[in-house]
């Protein structure tokens, strides 16, 4: 498959490129140039023309772009960026769109008091935090375009806290020992997050229950505040790292 990755120079991009590059033709894009062996296109996701130009003749778009704090830039990237992506999907009849975001663009502050098996299909209540609401607005744009274009299949993967192998590194001068320290109930290793996106990219679209599906992606943890059951059942994703050793409640 020919795949365009938007925001490939973020934290997750390199993990994803690493596992996709052998099986797919990937085009990495970002506002900042990166050193890569794959195709690279410089794209500002908030620029409609640049996104359209980069999207021609691709089979799938994966959106990893994000901007969190600056009010104007957050809307430019998280909301208008999604609009540009969907305009491109519509124009070039790209059937597969994978969007990403934080879990709290759906499960915002009003869900804090719920404590068991919160699933990704709850009514979105992002609150007014600039990151959450701009991402939620971007998601709404994706869903409207998906509903109106019968050839588009949208999969949204929601993450929050990413960890690498240093999470459980033994305590020495260089590393920090997190064993037994607290951990948010929405945590995942980078490798598992990238694997979930790969599975979403490669799934037979006929297997999806609807043309718009959302998944919570996080490691198995004892608390069960959120539920990753849907990702396991539909994407057949199985987190390799359960992070239980870092859990202390």
């Amino acid at each position: 498959m020919k795949v365009l990755i938007l925001g490939a120079n973020g934290m997750l991009g390199p993990w994803l490129s690493k596992i996709l590059k052998d099986d797919h033709e990937i085009i990495e894009s970002d506002l900042n140039e990166i050193e890569t062996n794959t195709n690279f296109v410089k794209v500002d996701i908030s620029n409609t023309e640049e996104v359209l130009n980069a999207s021609e003749k691709v089979d799938a778009i994966i959106n990893l772009s994000v901007l969190r704090t600056d009010r104007k830039l957050a809307f430019d990237v998280n909301m208008k960026g999604n609009l540009n992506m969907m305009l491109a999907a519509e124009k070039f009849r790209i059937p597969r769109v994978i969007n990403t975001g934080p879990h709290f663009q759906v499960a915002g502050p009003t869900y804090e008091n719920y404590d068991h098996e919160i699933n990704p299909d709850i009514p979105p209540q992002p609150g007014v935090n600039i990151y959450a609401i701009s991402k939620a607005l971007g998601q709404e744009i994706c869903e409207v375009f998906t509903e109106k274009n019968e050839f588009i299949f949208l999969q949204t993967l929601l993450f929050y806290n990413f960890y690498d192998k240093d999470l459980l590194k033994p305590n020495d001068k260089k590393g920090v020992d997190n064993t037994g320290k607290d951990l948010t109930p929405f945590s995942v290793r980078w490798e598992d997050a990238a694997e979930a996106i790969k599975l979403a990219l490669e799934i037979d679209l006929k297997r999806l229950p609807s043309r718009s599906e959302k998944y919570f992606i996080f490691a198995d943890l004892p608390h069960n505040k959120f539920s990753n059951k849907k990702a396991k059942e539909q994407l057949r994703w199985s987190p390799k790292y359960n992070l239980k050793d870092a859990w202390n409640r």
Partner: protein, 212 residues
């Protein structure tokens, strides 16, 4: 009482001067200075047309900034005017305020939808009255037989006046308004029953449970 209006729809702007007991100020830009004097803010800029992606982006940012400023300045009541066009369901369906918006994907309808989401999230988060009024356009007194959705100028002014006078129990309410006509497209029962939604001293009085 001061009513501050963020401009965005010329026909509506002209009608607002007919509202009694309110000093209406229509402004292109909401600033700390003009919002600090306002008792109520009416957002018409949600109706502003937008054709390009950048106009769309700026419009939604403007709505967010306006609402954030209204929170900072402690405005008591904010009314956002939207359009019934946002409910793009089959014409045979009886659509009420409880239905989820189903917008078309053009920039204007999409911007109305996103403006409503931003407004709803502010309504959910901050404890002051936020009223979302979806108006059946056009606003026109001449009854065209082909129309099953329109709002007369008189009905519009009466609706806004009623909403301004009502002290709402809930911090977020949605109303649909259109004038009565044959094969009326949208119901306006909730608006007609507006008094039921207002708060009174009884709502805050504790009645001990009666013995069975």
């Amino acid at each position: 009482m001061n009513l501050l209006v963020s401009s965005g729809h010329k026909d509506i702007e002209n009608l607002l001067n007919q509202i009694d007991n309110y000093e209406v100020e229509i402004v292109n830009e909401i600033t700390e200075k003009n919002i600090s004097k306002a008792d109520c803010l009416l957002i018409l800029s949600s109706l502003e047309n937008c054709s390009s992606t950048e106009e769309f982006n700026l419009k939604i940012q403007g709505i967010y900034n306006t609402l954030a400023l209204s929170v900072e300045q402690g405005v008591n009541k904010v009314i956002m005017i939207s359009s019934l066009e946002i409910l793009d369901y089959k014409k045979s369906y009886t659509v009420t305020e409880n239905w989820k918006p189903k917008p078309k994907k053009d920039m204007y309808n999409l911007s109305l939808n996103l403006s409503e989401i931003v407004f709803k999230e502010f309504g959910r988060t901050f404890p002051f009255q936020k009223i979302l009024l979806r108006v059946g356009f056009p606003i026109n007194d001449k009854l065209n037989n082909n129309l099953n959705c329109f709002t007369s100028k008189k009905d519009f002014v009466i609706t806004i006046s009623k909403i301004l006078k009502t002290n709402f129990k809930n911090q977020f309410e949605v109303f649909h308004v259109q004038s009565e006509c044959d094969h009326q497209r949208y119901l306006t029962n909730k608006l007609n029953d507006l008094e039921r939604l207002s708060s009174s001293i009884d709502d805050y009085y504790y009645y001990p449970r009666k013995k069975l």
